[in-house]
Symmetry: C2
Subunit: 406 residues, 2 copies
């Protein structure tokens, strides 16, 4: 749907069909453009994606009229699954071009995007009917999504997350991005895939540490939106960590619930017109400190930084009497149980926490909009966090850490 | 408006509020995301923009709550109007940061975008309420638009075109872009400004050659959409070229009409979901040949390349008996009258024309979708252009050129 209208009264007759009088302003010669972009994409949960049963997904849903595909894949995933994927496409009679990407926060930069764009350009993919496959973790999905959104102002792509973070977060989101100017995801776009394919079976080869990072995002979501999800993780988290989500019954429950909650948060606000976002929980202090940790201190992965931010936010909430001690302890205990780290030197520096807070104020257009849990499964936004709140939290953590280390 | 629904029947009760049964498919575990992005932006025609009468435009429409603005401006425009602009903002009590850009097709690249992004980042502009001003021609608007769309996944910006092409084309469009891999505008986004301010008075300092380039785009539009516009250009074009559009009565008529026609074409198809675009007239053969001309041959500006493409397309149309000889001669005569060139060596090479045609087939997803005028003010799309059509057109041009040179 679209229309435009105009502010002047002196229209020629033959232009009247195009324009309509616009009576909201007294400024002459004003045209107002109105248009709506309809976005529709699917998230499909599939097990053993590259078995032949799923040909239908690839042909029916991702255009049948061309038999060429560019597969952009994390190098590690290619080592593990590359043969299966090649066989799958060969059997389907689809010619593939593979582009292997070495994925790291360091490589999540403009050079990697240009490298991908160059490859797309070399192959001369058709603008609409030869979608790109992005197969890998959150970093890969973010980079490929950005490249897809930029080439010819947007070509179609399919997200296939292979990590737990990818399955419950990057796989569901429409955000793309790269790091730039030592800032996390400073450059990016909102660009939905045509379909996102969620296959839990990838997790069986994921290192335990990567599963832990995924739990950071699930826990983040559970604490501010869903007590049942929190309880599920509390009850089954440790077992899932051990069996790498291959206890399908339980794994399904937790992943589906996470996806639903993410969807509930993201879908009404795909382009982040509202800057009060519950999913920003764990993402207020962490972006700056994560980037900083790569320059000095012990490098933090995204998942590690997120859970440190979650813990800090819960602590602030508890100190302010918003979150009860009992609920705080439940959260703190679950973080420990999953083997996630609550301590990191950079999270004990007021300077960095303050700097991170200053930066999110710019990002949230002048407001802190800090989500603080009020109880497990619920949160509210706060705008009056002061140095004092941060100092108090630091002191608590220092004390606990000492006890913990003893 | 947004919603999402799900394909399985085994939903937990407490998730039912979020999801609804989805009965279009028999695939279990499918979520369908639906969302609509509402886009609204204004094009306002103003004369003598940086006079104090227009403070209202800048304060009322472009957020009052912050008094900092980044002005990204073509270096040449800054030399001519920089003092006025600085005085304007000083008087309004707005602190400005100026970033001067050397604009050329060669500099329309990723390095310039990164340079702009770096500046935005250094100033730490608020995400929503400190819009960027882009002041310059089509190249500047395209580059700044891309940077604005990428920084924090999109920050607001205002377009102020200062060339005739800018006023009737780039100023109205939501397209952003840079050249990459020797391809014109290969990388870009669709990203509307919050407002586009159209000030004809900038044209008084524009070199005549730049006015001519603007006529290329106006003529292109007129031939395929609007006979009255064509007649206006036929009658007044030469005078406007001489007085640089400062005969406001006539200038207004032609520019308003061009904007209306552009709006009519662009607005229902802002994201180019429909690849049959009348405004692609003059933009089928020209993108490749324009880029090629910078490598060998006589370098072509965009406007020059467009009118060569317009002429070639009209010739093909005439040779096929679609466009009458009489109408063809009217078009050809007007091109001459405005002093636009109909001859360029690269447009006489079958190899390049064929390569350009191959490339637009990729860009238009497997079809030529070549707009050919059926009469002045109207066109249809063709998909069966063959080497023979191109050869015949080349022969005609070679012959005419010889006569012309004699």
């Amino acid at each position: 749907m679209s229309n435009f209208c105009r502010g002047t009264a002196h229209l020629n007759n033959d232009l009247k069909g195009i324009a309509e009088a616009f009576n909201m302003t007294n400024i002459k010669n004003l045209w107002r453009f109105k248009s709506q972009l309809s976005v529709e994409y699917e998230v499909i949960k599939i097990t053993h994606l590259f078995s032949k049963d799923w040909h239908e997904i690839f042909t029916g849903r991702t255009h049948q009229d061309s038999a060429r595909r560019l597969i952009i894949i994390d190098k590690k995933i290619d080592t593990l699954y590359g043969d299966d994927i090649r066989t799958f496409f060969d059997n389907a009679g689809i010619k593939t071009y593979f582009l292997l990407i070495e994925c790291s926060e360091k490589n999540k930069n403009i050079q990697t995007v240009i490298h991908i764009l160059q490859q797309i350009n070399d192959i001369s993919l058709l603008r609409r009917s030869e979608p790109i496959f992005a197969i890998g973790g959150g970093i890969l999905l973010d980079i490929v999504g950005l490249a897809a959104s930029l080439y010819r102002r947007g070509v179609p792509y399919i997200r296939i997350p292979t990590t737990l973070v990818g399955l419950v977060d990057a796989g569901i989101s429409v955000k793309t991005g790269i790091n730039c100017f030592q800032q996390r995801n400073r450059i990016g776009t909102y660009y939905p895939p045509i379909v996102s394919l969620i296959d839990i079976s990838f997790l069986k080869t994921l290192p335990t540490n990567e599963i832990k990072k995924g739990f950071s995002e699930i826990l983040k979501l559970a604490i501010v939106t869903d007590k049942t999800l929190f309880d599920l993780v509390d009850e089954h988290g440790l077992a899932l960590l051990e069996n790498k989500f291959q206890d399908i019954n339980i794994a399904d429950k937790i992943i589906e619930r996470s996806i639903m909650q993410m969807a509930k948060q993201l879908n009404p606000n795909l382009w982040e017109q509202n800057l009060c976002r519950l999913v920003d929980f764990g993402h207020s202090f962490s972006p700056l400190i994560e980037m900083q940790s790569h320059k000095n201190g012990i490098p933090l992965s995204h998942g590690e930084a997120v859970i440190l931010d979650v813990y800090l936010s819960c602590l602030i909430s508890k100190n302010r009497g918003i979150l009860s001690d009992k609920e705080f302890i439940k959260i703190s205990t679950l973080i420990d149980k999953l083997g996630l780290n609550k301590y990191h030197p950079l999270f004990l520096y007021l300077k960095y926490l303050q700097k991170a807070l200053d930066e999110i104020i710019v990002h949230r257009n002048g407001l802190q909009n800090l989500p603080l849990p009020t109880r497990i499964g619920s949160a509210e936004f706060y705008n009056d966090i002061k140095a004092n709140d941060l100092e108090q939290a630091i002191k608590h953590t220092q004390l606990k850490k000492r006890v913990c280390i003893k």
